[in-house]
């Protein structure tokens, strides 16, 4: 629901990275969007397209990868993919640490 502000955050980070590389043209951005990040990939793409145009980044391909939920059970040690509505381990334990699917990352960028 806050995809617009997230898109602006992303552009700000990208601007810094492009500046570090003396303004080499940006060609590709790869994002990883966690299933539980609260971010809708299609909506994010919509706002990023607009934001990229404002930056005159015209030929940038945007790859949005979904990061699935991942968890580690502290009781039996299993690494597993929990269901969206049930984070307990199949061993019955609820002492579980989420290890993936929550964050929103810029994985990589490609410059010309």
């Amino acid at each position: 629901m806050h995809e617009m502000s997230i898109a602006l955050n992303i552009v700000e980070i990208l601007r810094e990275e492009v500046a570090k590389e003396n303004g080499r043209p940006l060609r590709k951005v790869t994002l990883s969007v966690g299933e539980l990040s609260g971010i809708e990939p299609d909506s994010l793409r919509f706002f990023l397209d607009t934001a990229f145009e404002d930056e005159h980044w015209r030929e940038v391909s945007l790859d949005i990868q979904k990061a699935p939920l991942a968890a580690h059970c502290k009781t039996c040690g299993a690494d597993f993919q929990p269901e969206e509505t049930d984070f307990r381990c199949s061993c019955g334990s609820g002492d579980v640490e989420l290890t993936g699917g929550q964050a929103l990352h810029i994985e990589s960028i490609v410059l010309e």
Binding site: G38, T85, D86, R88, H105, S108, I109
Partner: protein
Amino acid sequence: MKEIKLQKNVLSKNDVIAAELRKQFTQKRLLVLNLLSSPGSGKTSLLEETAKALGSSLRFAVIEGDLQTERDADRIRKYGVKAVQINTGRGCHLDANMIAGAVTQLDLDSIDVLFIENVGNLVCPAAYDLGETAAVLLVSTTEGDDKPAKYPTAFLKADLLVLNKIDLAPYTNFSTERFREDAARIKPKLKMIEVSCTTGAGIDQWIQWLEEQIKAKKIL
């Protein structure tokens, strides 16, 4: 062509500011609670009941997050509680930078607890660390018992679950049992307190929890 592996968290700037706030709050031994809920669950009502119950025994201040208006802050100010209103405009959540701005308007040394009443929304506020000591999730019975399954991130973030409007539960199809079970699927050890801000039921348990948290802060 040059590829750069960034692996950069998009919210890293927020998290840096949140960490600075947490450091500041910890040094002052201040309990800071981030209050999350849907619109209309009773966040401001809970704060009003808190002000009534605490009287002058504990000093607290409130940062109110709303899209617009000062209405919530005005409700709190009637009880002599200092309230800073943040209007987020179209923004659906508070971020750490807004809190950093708001705390400059407060005398943190003169209070025991700072409540941050987040924008009513169970999605976006869950993604933003505000430097709080604990997150309190408020859900009311009239919203339905399906909230844990629909908004798992808010339940994951929560350190305390407060179920409000229990006086209205008989008029709805809300099942406290189902709600408790579904919440436990997301966060097994999440403590739940049942209250009614209208009848005052359970408010004593909420105040007790609050006093325990403050005590723990002061001893640490």
